[in-house]
Amino acid sequence: MKKTFILLAVFLVSAFFNTTNDLSAIESEGDKKTEKKVITACDGETQVVLNDVAKDEVMSREKAQEVAAMLMATYQQQKKYQSTKFTRRDSLIWDRELKAMIEEGYKWFHDPSLGTNGISCDMCHPDAVDTHPETYPKFQIQLKRIALLRDMINWCIENPMEGKPLKEDDPRMKAMEAYIIWARAKQDPRPEGKILNPGKR
């Protein structure tokens, strides 16, 4: 909704200030006396040719809005045919990559080698429950500062698991975050759990 509004505003602006462009060469070839006004959108491609507005004429606000709407409609019509088509192959790649990431996270989540005392994450968090990833960032009372999910993962690695914390961009950290978020969205029976929609565009 918001995006559409911004795009519309851009069109409006171009409708006001684009009056001197001469991309209308082809149109104007036939009749030089009644040169028509051509408005081009900010993508540089989408155009509308106006029969009822002279080239140098300044449009009223109402007219400009009407033109912007026409531009938008044309843009959307063109996009339907021109924009990226997601093929079955694309979806297969996405699904496979997502699955691989989550499986990697599942593996580390169940692996005591992140710590030194035999304990793994799943021992206190079966199916990653009680990790509530949707609540981060938040003020963690016990730490007395704002924490991200990864801070808490590292806290658990350092304390109950007596291991060394992971770097923030450690692939194991990313994978565990992916698994935790996925598990939360998939398994939380509460309606507020559904706000997470990992793997979807």
Partner: protein
Amino acid sequence: MPSEKKEEQYLKEREEFFKMLPKLNRRQFLKVAMASAAVALAKNQFPPHSFQLVEAVEAKQGGTEVKFRFAYISDTHLYERKLNERFVRAALKAVQDVNALDPQPDFVLFGGDLAQLGQAEELKLGKEILSELKPKVYMMVGEHDWYLDLGEKWIELFGKPYYSFDHKGVHFIVLNSVLVDDYWTEAKMSPMDRMKFMAQLDNPNGRPFTVGRGYGDVGKKQFEWLKQDLAKVSRDTPIVVFSHSPLYKYYKPWNFWTDDAEEVQALLRPFRNVTVIHGHTHQPVFHRIGNINFYGMLSTAWPWPYAPTGLPKLTIKMNRADPFDQFDGTGDGTVEVLANGKANKIYNLWSREPMKVTARYLESGGREEVPPLPIDPSF
């Protein structure tokens, strides 16, 4: 000062309260108990369930005096000492707790999962720790003790995995309720693979526990034994059953579950007073089905979260444990066996107020003797 006045008034109320206690019948008693709890709460003096005096009066009625007590320690999940000290410390804490009980309990029940991965060193360490207990110890097996060598070492150290005994007129039964179908032979798993497969609570391929089924004929034999054992017991004899898994169906994905629970419950149905005490769930959880009261035991090692679905209706949930406190949500406990054959359970939570869940609470469908709701904040 108004606050002094308040204090005076409170002391007066208290005095009146104690004066009238002996004169009450049950209905009036409950009314007063509730009012006094409210007074105590309002004054922020102490949590209502610390009003132990109230129970002493009540105990004079209807055979509800405590006949004897036993203690439990459960789910210590020990690794070798050199690998993991914190679970060793937790188990020792429970041993100290029990040894400090005054009066001493008649015996201690160990609720299973002594070891984490069923290894000889873990089981031997467990035996060493439990040998420090002053009272007699009865042992029960858990899946973490069993699936490395299918019980070989455990049986060598502790004896039969299922048996019964009588104590002060109560018939006690200890079961091996962690028997599952053979998932390892066909998959050609090593003993340690088999153990780890079983040790993972959220294993999506996990197999449900049973008492009377499982690989080979080990379950069938046990079920036959149970039938014959119960046949010798009169219907009026109070029965207390110890099982590692809950003898009902709570949440299958985590194996908070016994697949043939209904068949075992059917064997227990003819008896007047039946209490089942189980381990495995690492949380205060209680339930009643037909004539059977169920109480879950605490773990000393770590608390499991409550399952997303299937929690028994009468359970009063403990707040989410504080991950920053190793001992929060863990502990040990005692069971009071009453003269009328019922059993009350006391959860001795190490970082919280103790929680007492009475047979009457369960048998009244949650209307009477409601345990206090947790007052600690969640994290």
